[in-house]
């Protein structure tokens, strides 16, 4: 069965605990590596009885690197040696920059979808400048993906995270988080930022011949947003959507 237990202690302990919990899963089971979105898939796998090993980063001082930061943590490396490796690495930096509406609203024209609305009164930013900024922020994610690819090679398949939710009210209903006095950014802006993330990630994968699993359409609206019922919190899909991912992942086994 899949596990997703993560330690609360230090770095080496993290590696050891992940290794020990993964040991309860068949050694030839596929593995998923990633950040919080990997948690969703692992939870879905647990519920569905889908054998899946997992490495969800985000814990430890420098996850998932070795102490000197030059390579992946040894425990991660050991579990990437065999079998299909699914990567959903990425910390949703497009959400980080775009979820909350900035005091100076901004927007931009997305070349692949120039008819998407522009926020009235927003400062229009150069698309290439926005893209360049997002790519800079995504550098750390690409470094991890490169390290995974170095180990897994053609066993690697990358999973794109889900698009944003369109319905602002559905996001705002999550009471646990204090957005302060900030509103949620308009849906079209969040979608544009997501699409920069998606295209940059696809380009990275295409350069290396890494197949990409696109966001399963079953959970999306006609205009490319995540459907309300598949939201876990403001920036993550829930385990029901995770099942759609599992179905796609099965095609690569």
């Amino acid at each position: 069965m899949a596990t997703r237990q993560l330690p609360s202690a230090g770095h080496d302990t993290w590696g050891d605990e992940m290794g020990s919990t993964n040991a309860s899963v068949p050694a030839d089971a596929p593995v998923i590596v990633g950040n919080s979105h990997a948690e969703v898939i692992l939870a879905s796998a647990a519920r569905e009885g889908f054998p899946l090993r997992g490495w969800a980063f985000g814990r430890g001082p420098q996850p998932p690197w070795s102490e000197d930061g030059t390579e992946l943590h040894h425990a991660v490396q050991e579990n990437l040696q065999t079998g299909r490796v699914f990567s959903i690495v990425g910390r949703s930096h497009h959400e980080e920059r775009g979820l909350l509406q900035h005091p100076v609203p901004f927007d931009f024209v997305l070349p692949e979808a120039p008819d998407l609305p522009l926020t009235p009164g927003a400062q229009i930013l150069p698309y290439e400048a926005v893209r360049e900024t997002l790519l800079k922020i995504m550098t750390f994610d690409f470094q991890i993906m490169s390290a995974v690819w170095d180990l897994a090679g053609d066993r690697m398949v990358h999973i794109l995270t889900q698009p944003p939710l369109k319905n602002l009210e559905a996001i705002e209903k999550f009471p646990a988080w204090d957005y302060g006095d900030a509103a949620i950014s308009p849906a079209h802006l969040r979608l544009k930022l997501y699409r920069i993330y998606a295209s940059a990630t696809r380009q990275w994968c295409a350069k290396r011949g890494v197949p990409v699993i696109d966001p399963p359409f079953e959970g999306l609206t006609d205009d490319g947003f995540l459907r309300d019922e598949y939201l876990s919190n403001a920036t993550h899909a829930n385990v029901d959507y995770g099942v759609f991912w599992l179905r796609r992942m099965e095609q690569w086994l």
């Binding site: 948690e39 100076v104 901004f106 698309y127 360049e132």
Partner: protein, 360 residues
């Protein structure tokens, strides 16, 4: 002894005392007509040399007005690459008086050039009047037009709210459109973009009267919007990269700079609240012995900029201009993305609380 107008002249009027003896310490500034205070909103525009003035003012605690600022979303080095903050607005280099006047009219909708956009081989859009403002050009027409409207609004704000407008005159040579006289900052067909068409693009080398006429038209339009604005004119000491005339570029440079210098002098003599600052003389005068130019004898060394700005702060500004970063006032947007990152991190961590046992 017979008395004559030179008898008892102040030392600054006498070459031997003011230049020969002073040498590198020559200070050619005399009786500047007004003072720039640290609360004055200063707008800068002009040729490449003017960027030095912008940077030094900003670094010295003066209120260098930026009406087209980079959004905090952009990383600082990306913003700089996209030419935010080089001048008050993202107009790029303005080399001629004609270009300045037309910028005013374009910003207020009273002049729309016939040649309105260039296209690159990859389909990107180039603004013929700001050809290098956007690395690679604008990827879509929608962005090109939205950005330009936004830019014009920033230009209008600059003209209307400036307390001091500093303009560096750079060139007399330019290329214009034969139909409407639109003055391009760079000849069409260079690496900056556009396609040169000898039937449409004509060379112009503005005369003293041309420059005076354009600048006086600009002054009139500017002061109609902003009657109290004070203007500082300078002439760029940077020689021409190339001349379109069949003449030696050194000769062509001397002509251009002479025209601009005479025009500046004439304008100052005719208009109140207008001063000339002798950047040109400081850099190129014999007292500098060419020492303020780089090895290419064209670019100005940092020591030259230092000298210009040192005298500028001494004679024109309220304070000495020793590096005093502008007063930092935290704004609501300063730590916005840090807070957003913390929220994103928290949302990611929240996933650990969900063991997936329920889909509700």
């Amino acid at each position: 002894m017979a008395v004559n107008p030179y008898h008892g002249a102040s030392p600054h009027r006498l070459w031997r005392r003011a230049v020969s003896i002073q040498g590198a310490e020559t200070d050619p500034v005399h009786a500047f007509p007004f003072t720039v205070s640290t609360t004055d909103a200063v707008v800068t525009a002009g040729s490449c040399f003017a960027q030095h003035i912008s940077r030094r003012l900003a670094a010295s605690g003066y209120k260098f007005l930026i009406t087209e600022a980079a959004h905090p979303f952009l990383e600082p080095d990306t913003a700089a690459a996209f030419n935010y903050g080089r001048f008050t607005a993202r107009y790029g280099n303005i080399y001629t008086a004609r270009q300045l006047l037309q910028l005013f009219h374009r910003a207020y909708g009273t002049f729309t050039p016939v040649e309105d956009a260039w296209r690159t081989d990859t389909g990107a859009w180039i603004d013929p009047f700001r050809p290098q403002i956007q690395p690679g050009g604008f990827p879509t027409e929608a962005e090109y037009r939205a950005d330009r409207e936004q830019h014009f609004a920033a230009v209008r704000t600059a003209f209307e709210t400036a307390d001091v407008f500093i303009f560096t005159l750079g060139l007399t040579e330019c290329w214009e459109h034969a139909v409407d006289g639109a003055a391009f900052p760079i000849c069409p067909g260079t690496s900056a973009g556009g396609v040169f068409d000898p039937e449409v693009h004509r060379f112009a080398n503005h005369s003293v009267s041309d420059v005076i006429e354009d600048m006086e038209a600009f002054f009139g339009a500017l002061r109609a919007m902003n009657p109290q604005v004070r203007v500082i004119l300078t002439v760029s000491p940077v020689p021409l990269v190339a001349t379109a005339r069949d003449a030696h570029v050194l000769v062509a440079t001397t002509y251009s700079k002479s025209v601009l210098r005479v025009a500046a002098e004439t304008l100052v003599s005719r208009h109140e609240k207008t001063g000339y600052f002798p950047s040109y003389e400081i850099i190129t005068g014999p007292q500098s012995r060419g020492g303020y130019f780089e090895d290419d004898l064209r670019d100005v060394r940092a020591e030259g900029v230092d000298r210009v700005m040192s005298l500028f702060f001494q004679h024109v500004c309220e304070t000495s201009g020793e590096s005093q970063p502008a007063e930092q006032r935290a704004t609501a947007s300063d730590d916005f993305f840090e807070r957003a990152k913390s929220l994103n991190d928290a949302l990611c961590d929240e996933l650990l609380l969900d063991d997936g046992s329920s889909a509700d």
